[in-house]
Amino acid sequence: MTGREGTDATLSATLDAYRAAAHAEADAHFDDRALEAQRQRILQRIEQAGQRARVLPFPSTSGPVRPTAGVSRRWISAAAAAGLLIGLFTGQLLHVIPGDNWVNPDARRPVALAPARTGFVPAVANAPADAENALLDAIDVAVTSRGVSELRALHDLTFAYEPR
């Protein structure tokens, strides 16, 4: 008998013994009582699987539904709508009533912050004066506009030197 044949014979015998030992090992873990218990569990699970799923009411409604939730929701909606209307009305009122923030209609005219470019090239001597006037006009308009408080200090400084 060669070494290979000997190993094969050993392997075959070992596998036969392994099979028997493996069966015995598993059977030792699952005796007849365990098998019966497992069988019952399987049938129980099958029975549960066959039953229709019970739908639990959520949220649970044991008593009549109280209308408080709906009423409060309506109150919140009404309050929000009223707040919106009041806000709009107040905003319009501020435009109508003249006050400190009243704006000279002339100031609402669009102002070109830079001199319009034309094909005409001004004389060199007049150029600085024109540019200065345009800048001062722009500052004046900006200062008289609402919401430009940052420029008021500049306006106060430059007002005395205004050529007008």
Binding site: T7, T14, L15, R19, A22, A24, E25, A26, F30, Q38
Partner: protein
């Protein structure tokens, strides 16, 4: 309650097994499928208990050898039988029921293995402690005789070698050696080709042969 014949049940003739006759499990499964088709669920459930009893021990042996954990094997077998009953209307009687069941059992075992891997991040292998516990729990008669024949040291070597096999090789080896299935049956049960099954089995046996050769 008298059992109805398969003709009365309106089912097709179950597939023939290795010996040319339909296996008892195939006959029973076809009968239960017929009962379910007629809406006789309670009777079908009772008959299913007999089917469970027929296959249960074999299923536990395979699942235990593959999973190496009694609780996991128990769960996997339960899952497999419940899936069988729930999906019995899909069972094709032209194929052996045993093969279909093995496929479901293998999938249930793989699911259990994945769940355990997710939990533990390691695949269980029989430790020294496990082997000792197993020896003590074995029945005094048959198991100890088998162990004596195999030899304790060699049993541990083979067990470790089998546990160390890659998953597919271990699955094929378990089905082949523990459940005594043919490569064709294993191919049907696992979805592998018969050639792939043979390759896995060859590699598994080569490793075991090498281990046995080293320790001969």
């Amino acid at each position: 309650m008298a059992r109805r014949s398969l003709v009365d049940a309106g089912t097709t003739v179950p597939a023939k097994g290795r010996d040319g006759h339909p296996s008892p499990a195939s006959v029973l499964a076809a009968e239960i499928k017929g009962l379910l088709a007629r809406g006789e669920r309670d009777v079908a459930r009772d008959r299913f208990g007999a089917l469970v009893a027929l296959l249960q021990r074999r299923a536990l042996r395979v699942a235990f050898q593959y999973l190496r954990n009694p609780a996991d094997a128990d769960e996997a077998v339960q899952d497999a039988f419940v899936k069988v009953f729930v999906n019995l209307d899909r069972y094709n009687e032209e194929l052996p029921f045993d093969t279909w069941f093995t496929r479901i059992l293998v999938n249930a075992s793989l699911d259990r293995l994945k769940a355990r891997s997710r939990q533990q991040r390691l695949i269980a292998s029989p430790s020294e402690e496990d082997d000792d516990r197993t020896v003590e729990q074995l029945p005094a008669g048959e198991a100890s005789a088998e162990r004596r024949m195999l030899g304790r040291e060699k049993w541990q070597q083979v067990s470790r070698a089998v546990a160390a096999l890659p998953d597919r090789q271990r699955l094929v080896f378990t089905l082949s050696q523990v459940d005594e299935q043919t490569p064709a049956e294993i191919a049907s049960a696992t979805g592998m080709s018969a050639a792939t099954v043979r390759v896995h089995l060859f590699r598994a046996l080569r490793k075991l042969r090498g281990i046995l050769g080293e320790h001969a």
